[in-house]
């Protein structure tokens, strides 16, 4: 698929840049110390140059590879969006969700996760993540709210018992105090 190939290219280019940056940074730390012994910059330069080298090879490999014969692409021609849509419709999961729906779900889950991390300081660790569990189950996965609530409560209690009561992990607390 076009997008996957682009993402792969992008990732390799990013890696190449990281590798080169590491080589430059490592040189700054000093590859060798007095007497020619290995210094703090040696491994960054070594690993960085390997990353950069293989990333460049990967970019070349990905560019060179002959695009596979793709019937969808022939139908859609140069229209990438149409091609993506066609690809999505041919790829429906067991709940009848299309690719684009699932991509949206992923975005929502990531958003919920970020919100949860922000809420940890306010609500406390377990309440924040319990809320996340409930929200994902009910609003993203469209489960019935009562069983979802039950699963949430049971999970939170078990996690509390194991981590706080048994292992004495001082989880961040919020407005609900100990829990």
């Amino acid at each position: 698929m076009i997008t996957a190939r682009r993402a792969g290219l992008g990732a390799s280019i990013v890696l190449a840049v990281i590798g080169i940056a590491a080589v430059l940074g490592g040189t700054g730390y000093g590859m060798f110390v007095d007497g020619g012994e290995v210094g703090p910059g040696f491994l960054p330069v070594f690993a960085g140059s390997l990353v950069a080298l293989f990333a460049v090879l990967d970019v070349m490999g990905r560019l060179k590879r002959v695009p596979e014969h793709d019937p969808l692409k022939e139908v859609a021609g140069a229209d990438e969006e149409l091609a993506a849509d066609l690809a999505a419709e041919s790829d429906v999961d067991i709940f009848g969700r299309t690719q684009s729906q699932r991509t949206r779900m992923l975005a929502i889950v990531l958003g919920v996760l970020v919100a949860t991390l922000a809420l940890v300081q306010v609500l406390g660790f377990i309440p924040a993540f319990g809320l996340m569990l409930f929200v994902i189950a009910v609003f993203v996965e469209r489960r019935k709210w009562l069983p979802s609530l039950l699963v949430t409560v049971v999970t939170c209690v078990v996690v509390y018992l194991i981590f706080v009561t048994f292992l004495r992990v001082p989880l961040p607390e919020g407005v609900f105090g100990g829990f």
């Binding site: 792969g8 990732a11 040696f42 491994l43 779900m105 996340m132 979802s148």
Partner: protein, 507 residues
Amino acid sequence: MIENLILGFQTAFTPENIFWCFIGVFAGTVIGLLPGLGSTTGVAILIPLTLTLEPVTALIMLAGIYYGAQYGGTITSVLISTPGEAASVVTTLDGYKMARNGRAGAALSISAIGSFIAAIISLALLMALAPPLANLALQFGPVENLAIMILGLVIVVSFAGGAFSRGLMMAALGLLISTVGVATGFSSARFTFGNVDLLSGIPFVEVMIGLFAVGEVLHQIRVGAAAPIRTKFRDLMITRSELKRSVGPILRGSGVGFILGILPGAGSTLASFMSYGIEKRVSKNRDQFGKGAIEGVAAPESANNAAANANFVPTLALGIPGGGTTAVLLGAFTIYGLQPGPLLFETQPTLIWGLLVSFFIGNVLLLVLNLPLAPVFGQMLRIPYGYLYPIILLTSFVGAYAVSNNFFSVLIVFVFGIIGWIMKEVDLPMAPLVLGLVLGPLFEKSLVQTSAIGQGSFLVLFEHPISVVILVFAALLAAGPSLTRRLVARRHAKQADRENDKTPVAH
């Protein structure tokens, strides 16, 4: 030897000790099931609970926790692709695939069986040969360790198979990530950008949780929920042919694990990766590796358990810990007023032999507890994914926090979760990255030490006989993959011929 064994059994085989060992195995398994909490953390956290017990009983319980936690980590590796420690990263490759094929029970059973056999073999060696082996291990200084590391990397390179260069790229990236922070022997911080939390480097446990657990969840959401794995209970049981296929990998894994486990440092992670790499070369089911080959579970699991036991060779015989967990255990020795050191075998025979026998009991208990439970654990996958994945997210983040009580860990998990998802999308392998990250500090340490010993020259690598042997071996492997492949292929061809003569084999 026999006398000592009898003494050991007399010491360890009391109902009270067995009870506490059982509690230890159980508590350890529970801890190992939690993402991020492996045996080191488990033992460290639970030491206070053992303080009320007699020294022998306490150490027996701690040994139980050690084994339990390792197996707990294996369970999560197989079921939800979340390794508990670096040594079970490889298990996710085929174990998780087996689970998704509905063979979770078989994967868990073979790791229990493989671990058990490996433990028995390595314990027998430990009991018989600990002092001489420990002296041999002392010959492995920085120079020899560097040679081992090179050999390990060469073997592991064979992993990636087709995507050879991508595997290397990820291993190098892991090495690079491992350089964040302050390295052995230097006082300057690297790539920390003024962040205090980064001074200690990027912790691999959190990276592992992020890449494997969170990354996998995000990936699954995007590819769409697979049909829940509805298998009959019977399907979760291991079959006879699977058992037969696993014999070789278990024995080879035990050998590799034991040898690497004796050496302080390199230990179980490298052992599990190496044994997987070896199986991938010699197995006749090579093409199934990465798709759910039972050999790919049996070998690394046996290797890391053998290494875990072999770790006790330097710990008990020399007072030098072989790994993270044994270091914590050694700390526990002093709490009980025992002086770790070469005289422990002579001054504390009751304790040492009691401990060795209790390792044996611990492994038996683990097998008894987990073999029947393996299919039951497999049933966990029947939880609808809509509930399962937010629960995985929750436990991953709580577990990450619990590792060091630091919110920074949580952020690392999040960041590497996203990185892991992207890697899956663009088809970059994750296991080599973890290997690089884990080996990075060890590799760098032996580099620095070797160059200090050689006063700036790496030629010392060729002056030490042991390292020369290892390097020659590595060179043979690197230069002659085609050679070995040809040899193996010829042998397999012969075997196949023979089998074909008897019955037509369905593939």
